[in-house]
Symmetry: C2
């Protein structure tokens, strides 16, 4: 199976490397060609437009930043749909809106192309180690044909239902993560202010009912002053806005998620830390800009 | 070593059973004698007052509900201090205020008794299985003499410093837990409203960066409609009030913890669910009183 891949950011790079390791032929496109250099060196082949990528591959995966970036890759004279072939599969692994996922499926149907939504969880580590969790929505039979691909990149793949339901599952995931990031920040801020040993706090909390992935993975990074992105603060903010939009449509109040959105907005807008990792939230208290 | 134990609630019962299993002689007292029946059947000996417990044992452990309950056991003509012997050890495993922990140490010094603060994390499961995490403050040398006791009841024991610092560490722990409970509630409420498969959501989230102890342990209980207390909602509310009091003293804003306090207050006061487990928070959305 020939795979086209759009998006060579921190996540995409990890996924592409795992596809190459499993002997898939991978052609890539990225808005900024320089960022694709790493995967090109490992054997991925550069292609100049999404349209060409669609023309030359059986499956095209997109893994970019924002819903608008997704649209930019699919639509337009050089976009994926312009090069679409009957029977082809497109799969959007970007965390995007359920509504856009449904639109892509409709547009795909017009061109006899199946589009799946398949956002992931697991961060840069999961992408690099091929242990991502994938949440899939869309045509179930087509989804099942992609098992070899998922085997190469993921530790867990769950099918949630129709188009957009992968994105809804991802929203549930982001709501949970936002809370652990909030809690981790307040926990470490309290502990530091009191004068507790922070490494000992991490050890203790991760051994009991406070244990969580964020504290285990980001806690040590924060203690080292490492705010490099596993996952961009600006991207979590985007996700929380989508989740809150969807919740509002259902007349559902999510106060903790709304608080997280407010604080990440402050981090991005006032502290200009959108390109930092989500763990940078603690800077709102520590005052390190 | 003869151990006296006050408090045969859900946590204390688990701890006492593990002490008995490890061949410690255990004498018990509880405000309501009937609630001590289970451990008496397993070999613990009933004693009529805290004072007698102090007179007859080398170490006395208290594990009760609120700071006022702790005071009631230590002070007064029938209290622990009234029966205290020189060289004895008292250890309060209740989650209580750092200030009270410091008061008990001072009063103990007057009577040549060492008092440690040693709150725990790990819930009913940890208490039952002897895998609790213990956070200790107070005299370090005395703490180290208790290794055989901790081996019987805990999976992890960390020493945090002077009197009260075990309680501060526990506050850091509760701040983290409050956030995971908030996040879990909003996640499941969103997922249910959208119509996602909830067991699949739990499986997915716990396989990625949203993973946390609360979701792993309480998620399945919520799906079964099981709101039995592993840990009482009213006790978490008490803990959050202590944490916020301490934070206020340090002029530290903890908005997520404050939100959790508000919501648990609502759960306890308006939904009358203080005796339910902390996972009952979701009832604020699901409307089940």
């Amino acid at each position: 199976m020939k795979i086209g891949f759009i998006g060579t950011g921190v996540m995409g790079t990890g996924v592409i490397n795992n596809l190459l390791k499993h002997d898939f032929e991978v052609e890539v496109f990225n808005r900024t060609k320089a960022h694709a250099q790493k995967v090109i060196e490992r054997g991925a082949k550069w292609v100049d437009t999404p349209k060409e990528l669609a023309e030359q591959n059986d499956l095209v995966i997109t893994m970019v930043g924002y819903p608008d970036d997704v649209k930019a890759q699919y639509y337009g004279p050089e976009g994926l749909f312009a090069g679409a072939k009957s029977g082809q599969i497109f799969m959007d692994m970007t965390t995007s809106t359920p509504t856009l996922a449904q639109e892509l499926v409709k547009e795909g149907l017009n061109r006899h192309v199946v589009v799946l939504d398949a956002p992931v969880s697991g961060g840069d580590v999961g992408a690099r180690e091929g242990t991502l969790t994938v949440m899939v929505g869309g045509d179930k039979v087509i989804f099942e044909t992609l098992t070899p691909v998922f085997d190469a990149i993921a530790g867990r793949v769950n099918y949630f239902g129709d188009a957009g339901w992968g994105q809804h599952a991802k929203m549930a995931n982001q709501i949970m993560i936002a809370a652990t990031m909030l809690g981790m920040s307040e926990t470490l801020v309290y502990a530091k202010k009191v004068g507790l040993s922070l490494p000992l706090v991490l050890d203790t909390l991760n051994g009991g009912s406070a244990q969580n992935w964020s504290l285990e993975n980001y806690g040590p990074r924060i203690l080292k002053g490492d705010f490099q992105p596993g996952f961009y603060a600006k991207h979590l903010l985007k996700d929380l806005r989508i989740a809150l939009d969807e919740a509002e449509k259902m007349n559902l109040a999510l106060p903790a998620t709304a608080l997280a959105e407010t604080l990440y907005e402050k981090l991005v807008d006032e502290k200009h830390s959108g390109d930092a990792g989500t763990q940078a939230l603690i800077k709102l208290w520590w005052g390190q800009a």
